[in-house]
Symmetry: C2
Subunit: 745 residues, 2 copies
């Protein structure tokens, strides 16, 4: 029955596609004509030549060290896992070298390794490690098996014509077909989701299908398994939903998680991970199924998303750690080389992408890599200027979003997205702050040591759930010591924040405002962050206005996770002799209380030093507000968490309230000259001048006596509305939802 | 009477010196002929020209911003302190610019500022801040007043001939003479010590004396105040002795603290600080008192010490934090530019110093700077190769010393010096370990935020005494939870450790061994550290054999202050719910106990990760040994201490004992590729094969089954003695105090 269906589909394909019967190879990532062109251009660009040399040296070493295809046994970080990973990476590269250099030793290496896998795979039961909701065979999860097939299908394509027909039949019958079936029809809970896992699965099945000329596999990849019969609301081992209502397959994975701005709802770390299968399968489809016009799909979202992703990295090119994310992952990852080269070549030939490719200092060994190398050698690169951005989230851009405000070396990331699937954190309206690529106010990131086997097999640690995902681990409001949506994924997935307004076009006064009404029942949170360059300051100051409306009295915790060492506070505090935890759940069980103080009415100030730079956070306070200095690391018997600092401003028994803060980046120190400059705050007073349902106004008084005012409309985000308000006997008139009056006497 | 004496001395000087009556200016650092040569060579070397340009730009800005000579008020870090500091640095530079560029605006600037000081100084009482044992007038301590005069005397020399005779008389009478008297005869407790403070004071008085042609001042500088009548054992505000028996003055400060190897007993941080007055005054003496042959004094120790100092810096040029020391202070400080240029020009023209000067990327604007710039432009620089070194401490090299073992990117510093004056720590036989310029096992350094006013006025914090100086803050043995010499400076100053033997000539097997018999009554400590490159390991392994002989049972704490995050241990441990301090005094009151475990007999292992590198410490253990994970920060109400980790191996109720450890640097991780390599220890077993009064032998078993052996003679350090010992039925014969048998089956 299955074979009959396959034959029928092949017949249909013959009618609509040209030349598929006489399909020549390579035809997936490399093409026959592309290879000819590459060979002709060897020696003409230093970047392609050096990339080729690097790969050739690496693969020559691999070939010399011999083939090892061990029986699967380990989690990631362990030998068999890392070896199989190394194998598929090596096969893909060897295949490419065979095509470009026309040296059969590379084809022989791929062939021999493929037959090692052919003979192993037949014998394999499920992988012995049982943690995954979709266990693989070569690896502990289908996800990694899919990685293998995405790379290996490229290797197979490259040596397709080098193999005899009989060899191909053996490989396809005993290895590729059962492999593709295993990760799809035999694991629909893995294959049929809208999730980066499935994207890998879809691409793997589709790519081997394209090479084998098997349209049934390609269609399965594009549209998913028709009747997968999955239970709604079943969950994977990361706690993510396996099935949500709607479509499946590669196109569904393009439709759902990408916003029209190219923001990927899981965040940049996972976007980076998913970009490889997205783009590499897309190139295959572009070559073998040009009629799909895959790169134009959804207003060219695939190509657009590459630039979006780069804009979500800091000055050093490291991605902002949104949701579950490893700090340090960057534009220098191999996935981003792929993304940048493909986006350049198949897109609008954006010269800013060449700047990134130059920094990466390597290109893909294919048509796109050659195109990038040639363009760079012709001097077409232009600096990639990261500007302030406001990206929407949601398939139609309707589910909040994320903003990055940038001035000088400061970068403020403000998150008001949807949940972000199973890797999402409970961090509505949170922010993080960077200077010159260094964290000033951090987001913890994830609690995981990827591929470090000693730490839970390199997998997510339990502290990821008990700490990293919890609201208190972020720079946002926590009500009654519970996380947003009570830390419940089902609930969080139903809602999203809303951008209220965004104003990033004026370089000197950039403001973003967003609201969240679902994280806590009966509580509406409205945060406005502004990055403002005034002539009174060397660097921009950051204003943060967090308005809370509630239907009852609550305890509000307002944390900032500052990085570095305390230099000074303006409030008294006491440190206990022994350290106790701040709470028992929702992340609080991981925090030690290092010191606490009762605030007076007025302003609370904390100055700290990080990376020889000084920062001061000034916040309005009410009588009875409490400051809590925290230290991470309680209930962490395996030392899985970093011992990072935090300060919580706690306001008890409060209903509607307003938290207003200013952050100054204001001076520096040199351990070599031993000189400190501008090491104290310049702000004399921060005050709430007005706070009604309709308007909020705050003032900042500089130590030179001048005062600035920020006026906000709380209900009307229209840029056209005219507003009028009296502050301290002075009448202010302005248009639009916010108005900044610069410092004056 | 005083003036009569002065006249007499001048007369004597006239007899022995030539031309002092017709003394021309400049004659201190710059000379008339030197300036002519510099002017001629302008435009011929890029390094001198760029250095000149940088200084000129800075001083032009200073001149434009106007002169401010405020009434003294603040501690370091505060405005008046920093302003006066800026003033003297600017005057010195402006004077030099006047000479080189022959532009009178620079002379006018210096003149006007000098007269501002002239009119201010007459009116000044003691500085209002009272903390110092020798309060200054412009600054809170005479030390900083002396800094001012060392720089300002150079400025005065440069514009000497630009001033009228009457102007000079006014300045000398109202400013320089009383200034010099104030920091010397009026503050003998400051001036007449063997201490870096006095070196500054001596240089200040001597340099203004040379410019003024006042031989009485010069002699006072060189030989000290004759009858200072200081109380023996009085102390300064850092706890250092004010007077020890013996000589005073500049020459005494050369005799005492420098060892024949050029090691300065206070350590590199203070050597760097003292090098400026040492060398700049020496240049002045070289020019104005050539007959003293100051650079040849004590086997050219001044020039030799520059290279010693550079060798006491890590791969990035940052000085190892010996005793009180700010981490990050480096060869890039302005004092080291002075040191390197002067050592090159007045020394043997060492081409390796040119390499450092190139890295500094600036030169002095004087004869030595021009000489360096010319030599570099002629391509004479050679790489400065830091090798393993063993420097003696003590005026005659008789008071122990310090070794740095270096192989590949690893640097191990082993300290067995004398106390190191008042900035010394109680850290006999301690070590620190670096890889690629990063700390792996740290020495805390000092508890001080130099020139950051919010932190105790930028002065030493009380945690410097209660933590940083204590033995438990170092990587050495602590007996019965008390510091070496009971933390008593008087006691510590009487003793020093002894080098037992040192073997650094063999690149692959480097060993240093030292003994300490006075730190604890009735306890002899004998530590041997070895850096060994075996073919079984990618990087050298570090062996650490710490032998203890005691006259009674004690509790031994063996701490390692590892930097980074715990990855794995091989022992069970439990973490308490609340954190309590480990002790109540001697530094223990600053440590929280984060976790503890009871060891089994055999080996204890800790693997940690720092800067994406893996390290494992393996130690032999006895039944009942306890492991204590500590976290710094208890009893630190001002957040003055970093929250650093530590592990203590505690052995209770033990008399003679042996601690044996191996440290492996063994693998790496990339957050970009997410690959970890070689992340686990390769050592299967570490064992004590023999331990007698005469011999200790240990064996290291690799996981590949091979075993290596290190044999040590405990009593006879002679390199000629023949030894014979049977280990596991095998007879070993060797010559000298140590013998390494590489891994074999």
């Amino acid at each position: 029955m299955r074979n009959q269906q396959k034959t029928y589909l092949l017949f249909v394909s013959l009618l609509i596609c040209t030349g598929i019967g006489a399909q020549e190879h390579p035809n997936l990532i490399l093409t026959k004509s592309g290879v000819e062109s590459i060979r002709k251009n060897l020696g003409t660009t230093s970047l392609f030549d050096s990339s080729l040399k690097t790969v050739q040296n690496a693969i020559d070493k691999e070939i010399a060290s011999g083939i090892d295809v061990p029986i699967p046994k380990d989690y990631s970080g362990g030998y068999t896992h890392e070896r199989h990973k190394r194998n598929f990476l090596a096969m893909q590269k060897a295949g490419v070298l065979f095509q470009i250099l026309n040296d059969e030793k590379y084809a022989v290496y791929v062939r021999d390794m493929l037959f090692s896998y052919e003979s192993l795979y037949k014998t394999l039961p499920l992988h012995p490690k049982e943690r995954s909701y979709a266990r693989g065979k070569l690896f502990w999860q289908c996800l990694n098996d899919s990685n293998w097939l995405v790379y290996t299908s490229q290797a197979y394509d490259c040596i397709y014509e080098f193999l005899s027909k009989k060899e191909r039949e053996m490989l396809e019958k005993n290895l590729f077909q059962p492999f593709a079936d295993f990760i799809s029809v035999e694991n629909p809970q893995f294959f049929n989701r809208v999730h980066n896992h499935s994207t890998w699965g879809n691409a793997a099945v589709g790519m081997i299908g394209l090479v084998m000329g098997d349209d049934e596999l390609v269609d399965r990849a594009l549209y998913g398994i028709k009747d997968a019969n999955l239970k709604l609301y079943a969950k994977d081992n990361d706690g993510g939903f396996i099935k949500t209502e709607g479509k499946a397959g590669f196109l569904a994975n393009l439709d759902e998680p990408f916003s029209p701005d190219g923001y990927y709802t899981e965040g940049p770390y996972y976007q980076r991970y998913a970009m490889y299968p997205f783009l590499i399968f897309a190139v295959g489809l572009h070559n073998a199924r040009p009629e799909l016009k895959i790169f134009e799909y959804k207003d060219s979202v695939l190509l657009k998303s590459v630039k979006t992703l780069i804009n979500l990295s800091d000055k050093d090119g490291e991605f902002f750690p949104i949701n579950d994310a490893q700090k340090g992952m960057s534009i220098f990852s191999r996935e981003l080389t792929t993304a940048v080269d493909i986006a350049y070549h198949y897109g609008i030939k954006d010269p800013e992408l060449l700047d990134i490719a130059q920094k990466q200092n390597r290109v893909l060994l294919d048509d796109s890599g050659m195109a990038v190398a040639k363009a760079i050698s012709q001097g077409r690169a232009k600096p990639f200027l990261k500007k302030s951005v406001a990206y929407s989230d949601g398939p139609k851009g309707e589910k909040g979003g994320i903003s990055v405000l940038r001035q000088q070396d400061l970068e403020l990331v403000f998150k008001y997205t949807a949940q972000g699937l199973s890797h999402g954190h409970y961090d509505k309206l949170s922010f993080m702050l960077y200077e010159d690529g260094h964290e000033v106010i951090q987001d913890y990131g994830m609690a995981r040591f990827v591929n470090i086997e000693q730490k839970g097999g390199g997998n997510y640690l339990k502290e990821n759930k008990t700490w990293a995902k919890q609201s208190i681990a972020h720079n946002t409001l926590v009500v009654n010591e519970t996380s947003h949506f009570d830390g419940k994924y089902e609930l969080g997935s139903k809602y999203h924040s809303q951008r209220f307004f965004s104003k990033t076009s004026d370089d000197k006064v950039q403001v973003v405002s967003a609201k969240e009404g679902s994280a806590y029942p009966g509580v509406v949170m409205h945060r406005t962050v502004a990055m403002i360059q005034s002539k009174e300051f060397d660097k921009p100051m950051l204003l943060d206005v967090f308005k809370v409306n509630a239907n009852k009295k609550n305890t509000y915790d307002f944390p900032i996770h500052f990085m570095g060492q305390v230099i000074q506070t303006n409030f008294e505090y006491a440190a206990p002799g022994t350290l106790e935890t701040l709470g028992t759940k929702n992340g609080y069980q991981h925090l030690y209380l290092e010191a606490s103080g009762i605030s007076k009415k007025g302003n609370g100030k904390l100055t700290w030093m990080r990376n020889n730079q000084f920062y001061t956070w000034t916040s309005t306070t009410k009588e009875g507000d409490v400051f809590l200095f925290t230290r991470l690391g309680a209930n962490d018997p395996e030392f899985n968490l970093r011992r990072d600092a935090g300060l919580i401003l706690r306001r008890k028994e409060s209903q509607n309230t307003l938290f207003v803060s200013v952050i100054e980046a204001h001076g520096e120190y040199s351990p070599v000259t031993e000189l400190s400059s501008n090491s104290t705050s310049s702000i004399l007073e921060l005050a709430i001048e007005l706070d009604t349902d309709m308007y909020t106004a705050i003032s900042v008084k500089h130590k030179n006596g001048k005062r600035a005012i920020l006026l906000l409309s709380n209900q009307d985000p229209s840029p056209e509305t005219l507003h009028k308000q009296k502050i301290n006997t002075k009448e202010h008139q302005w248009k639009g939802p916010c108005h900044f009056v610069d410092f004056k006497s």
